[in-house]
Subunit: 308 residues, 2 copies
């Protein structure tokens, strides 16, 4: 396609999202494909063949830059985690070529988090780079980003570098409990705002309570007729998200600027609600926009070498 | 069988355990059968037929006393939860006859727990009554009992009455995460003491951390090579059990007497370890012994009316 300069891709556990892009980052064409987990489940994947099929008809000479679980041990090629602090330029320079192809894979990030534990992200580093590109004000000063998802990442920026982050598995725990446990009795429950708000208040009243105790309230309050299944689901969500927010504000410090939420709107809204409960403002950047902008930011560092 | 005075049974979600007992509570014969959940899954159960089959050959005139989920909405007949405070005599008097049978079902207990929330137990009330029978010292003064399980119950006794309790769904959450999540990567992991101890120390260092954050360490520390799957499983167990213990001691007050652990030995040992970490002694009563003793305590209140 005329004007195409590179192929960008987010190859995660569940999906492959490919973008044919112009040199200014404009998306000319989008395609989707199978995620890393489905390919692995089907046997030993022919990664080269999959990417060739997915980009069929596009200029084969274009560089391809991929982020996400494609660089994990379950992916195409294991690409390292760069230890924080890391800036966008360092990430771009550390993209790893896949031998015999025009594909490069973005590295992940690692850090020692605010609990003194080793922590990792893979895929979100590209969204952070995209947020820095889309919001130039984030390149100076200190900022807090929150990237909700299966494993939510809270990342601290200082002068454009990721200085550290912490992961909360709230998304995964919510899905597990909702699907498999007796605590929320409806598999198709739609979490209510009222349940979510009730959980935030309960966390204020009993900050020392164990999650396993408060989670049981989802069941007992349904038995009592206080909650329906949707309210119980909202309560569960509020317990998980609210606990993450409380911990980040208490241990990471209150941010001086609005928290930047990066991701899917409904999930970000839940984190925004919990932040607002603690009088912390936030605003939203769409996750897909940030992935594209981040891959473009890395490519800009790469392109001069590819197409001088 | 000669000397048989009653049939006692613990009919829970997963198992039916029946005991043919002498008037002094001695067990003359044991039988097992399907739990309530399996019977429900197979269609609309013929409860009378099941109990008739399970007691075949025993004197049909004997009274049968059952505790557990048989009295829940998924069981034979819904039997109420008695609001705390409740003593053994009140429980015995509130056992509900199943019309047209010689079966009675023990009620559950409800309370407003230390988090101000409605809470319930069903089955454990019988173990508490059994502990009171087996350890007469518990009938005076204030005591704290812990009954680990899928949904662990911590019950406060005052002068032989259950004044309140709190439930922690640690057992269920551990099983869910172990079986279905990416946080612990081996389905057959055997939790290590080292992992358990590491979690207790982490909770000391970061009491404000969210469970969803600390749980993610199970995964990240495996990626870092710090943990193997067994240590990650131990860490997960330590996070769950340790958080319950911390909350109970902080919000319920430190008990003046050793905590009485009632249940299966390995699970009780984990709670004992977490209590000892906070310099709180504990000792163990076997769960099965307590069920039998509790049903016997209730029957003693019933028998004079049945066999004057």
């Amino acid at each position: 396609m005329s004007g195409a300069a590179y192929v960008a891709g987010d190859w995660g556990t569940s999906n492959l999202r490919l973008y044919l892009c112009a040199s200014d980052g404009r998306v000319l064409e989008r395609r989707t494909g199978q995620g890393v987990a489905a390919l692995r489940a089907a046997g030993s994947p022919d990664w080269t063949g999959v990417i060739k099929g997915a980009t069929a008809g596009w200029d084969e000479r274009l560089p391809v830059l991929l982020c996400g679980m494609v660089g994990a041990d379950i992916g195409w090629q294991r690409v390292p985690y760069l230890p924080c602090p890391v800036d966008t330029a360092a990430l771009a320079q550390a993209c790893v070529p896949v031998p015999g192809t025009r594909v490069r894979i973005v590295p992940g990030l690692s850090c020692t988090n605010l609990h003194g534990a080793y922590d990792v992200m893979r895929g979100e580093e590209t969204q952070v780079a995209g947020a820095l590109r889309l919001e130039p004000r984030l390149r100076a000063g200190r900022h807090l980003l929150c990237l909700p998802g299966t494993h939510a990442k809270w990342a601290w920026l200082d002068a454009g570098s990721v200085t550290g982050f912490v992961t909360g598995a709230s998304g995964e725990l919510y899905a597990l409990i909702q699907q498999h446990s007796v605590l929320v009795r409806a598999a198709a429950a739609r979490p209510t705002d009222a349940g979510f708000a009730a959980a935030l208040l309960q966390l204020d009243r009993h900050p020392q309570a164990a999650f396993a105790q408060l989670a049981f309230e989802c069941r007992a309050r349904q038995l009592a007729g206080e909650f329906d299944a949707d309210t119980a689901a909202g309560y569960l969500s509020g317990l998980l998200v609210g606990s993450e927010v409380r911990a980040v504000l208490a241990e990471g410090g209150r941010p001086g600027e609005p928290v930047v939420l990066v991701g899917e709107a409904a999930l970000c809204a839940a984190y925004g609600t919990a932040l607002r409960h603690h009088s912390v403002p936030s605003h939203l950047l769409a996750g897909d926009d940030c992935v594209q902008a981040g891959l473009h930011a890395f490519i800009r560092e790469e392109l001069p070498r590819e197409n001088p």
